[in-house]
Symmetry: C2
């Protein structure tokens, strides 16, 4: 089922880890890909971390990978704004990780919300009314909205939790303005950036992820193979629903190890 | 312009006070209505206060009125759930004032969000991610959504701030469920409750308020006269726009005093 596959786009939340723990066998599976000489990139809709923070988080859980093999929506949002809107000033509804990642692409933060050209929204797990109100003021002052992703819920150790759709909804309902750009999976921009990074055509790549709407849809739209893992948001029953269906369903990413047995 | 008017439905935020200060002349205007033998009720989309808290707030600003002459959306939400859904359990995305007002109508609060029949949403000026996530869990667990109101912004001393539409949007976007009931102005339920309270038919009543979408629309739909005041969210130019137009535009509620000169 992975014949001819040379590269893997691997989701993180619900696929490699859940909360602050690696999925059983995930580290062994990644080590196996390295031994087999396969290329891989972690492609996550997380927009509230920088690549360096994500690398450190993985290392703390016991998986050592270089920051360059991680592609977050914070990363791709920074690339998008740098390339398509050079010189723009942003206001961030999100956490330090997003602010750092945008700064790493040289994108300036507005000093007042009213001065921002773009409001960048991501998951903000410590959001307060004040944060929402400043973002509201940015959009009322003319800022356009870009969201790192639009996921409704994020799987955590405490169960499914409110994701960035909650932050987007707070601003969209109160201002009447919707996001003009949503960067995250299943968007083409995420797929193309990942394929460029590993230097392979889509026909030689497989997406491994737990989300039908994000991972499997990105694979289907982009001409890649896909494996749905059941360690996150989807069940085996879900696999037969939705517009795009996975080529294979695995209990977890550890099933990769059966492939080369 | 107030010939034949015996009762007044008077908005609070942006009409009687703004932030923590009475609008100049507001207290004198209310005292004048009392001397003229007019009936009045304060009708506010505020859902994060109880009537007792609102009475105390007005008294601190220098306006003494009985709690019985105040009708908040927290009040009317409590009446609605008591009358239409007896025995229901609620989860509150909002502040202490709403919880108290609901308790005054004997409506029990669920011990876990998943056990709630209704999620009641109002403005929550100290909302945190945790509050939003518990509300998210209530709706995913089956709770229906009732909102005290759906105002987008509330005028304050610091400028226009994010209102309850932000709280609704956070939950609606992330769960895919919209509110089944929105209690606040311009709803018929607010108008009917207010008219019952002062015991007058709509043709003998005037709504005084700063919001075209809430106050003037409620008057227009309900067959009441209306006065738009310019101390809140609307400008004189706004008065000629929108579906419903006021019968008269006043600089402030203090203009009531010119009426009987």
């Amino acid at each position: 089922m992975v014949d001819g596959i040379e590269g893997f786009l691997i989701d993180l939340d619900g696929t490699v880890y859940r909360g602050n723990r690696l999925i059983d066998g995930a580290a062994d599976a990644i080590r196996l890909l390295e031994r087999e000489g396969k290329r891989f990139v972690f492609v996550s809709n997380r927009g509230n971390l920088s690549r360096a923070m994500c690398r450190d988080k993985l290392a703390r859980m016991g998986l050592e990978v270089p920051a360059e093999s991680i592609l977050l929506t914070s990363t791709v949002t920074g690339m998008y704004l740098r390339d398509r809107h050079p010189g723009c000033r942003v206001w961030v509804l999100g956490e330090e990780g997003l602010t750092r990642e945008l700064a790493s692409f040289g994108i300036p933060h507005a000093s007042r919300p009213e001065d921002a050209d773009w409001l960048v929204i991501t998951l903000h797990e410590t959001v307060t009314y004040r944060d929402l109100n400043l973002a509201f003021r940015a959009v009322r002052g003319g800022a356009r909205i870009i969201a790192t992703n639009a996921d409704r819920m994020v799987p955590t150790e405490e169960g499914d939790c409110l994701d960035v759709a909650g932050m987007i909804g707070a601003i969209a309902y109160s201002t009447g303005k919707e996001p003009e750009v949503v960067v995250g999976k299943p968007s083409a921009i995420m797929a193309e950036t990942a394929l460029r990074l590993i230097g392979l055509p889509p026909g030689k790549c497989m997406v491994i992820g737990d989300s039908l709407g994000s991972d499997i849809a990105m694979a289907g739209r982009g001409g890649m193979a896909s494996a749905l893992v059941l360690t996150g948001s989807a069940t085996r029953q879900d696999a037969d629903q939705g517009e795009y269906r996975p080529d294979v369903v695995w209990d977890s990413i550890a099933d990769l190890m059966k492939v080369w047995k």
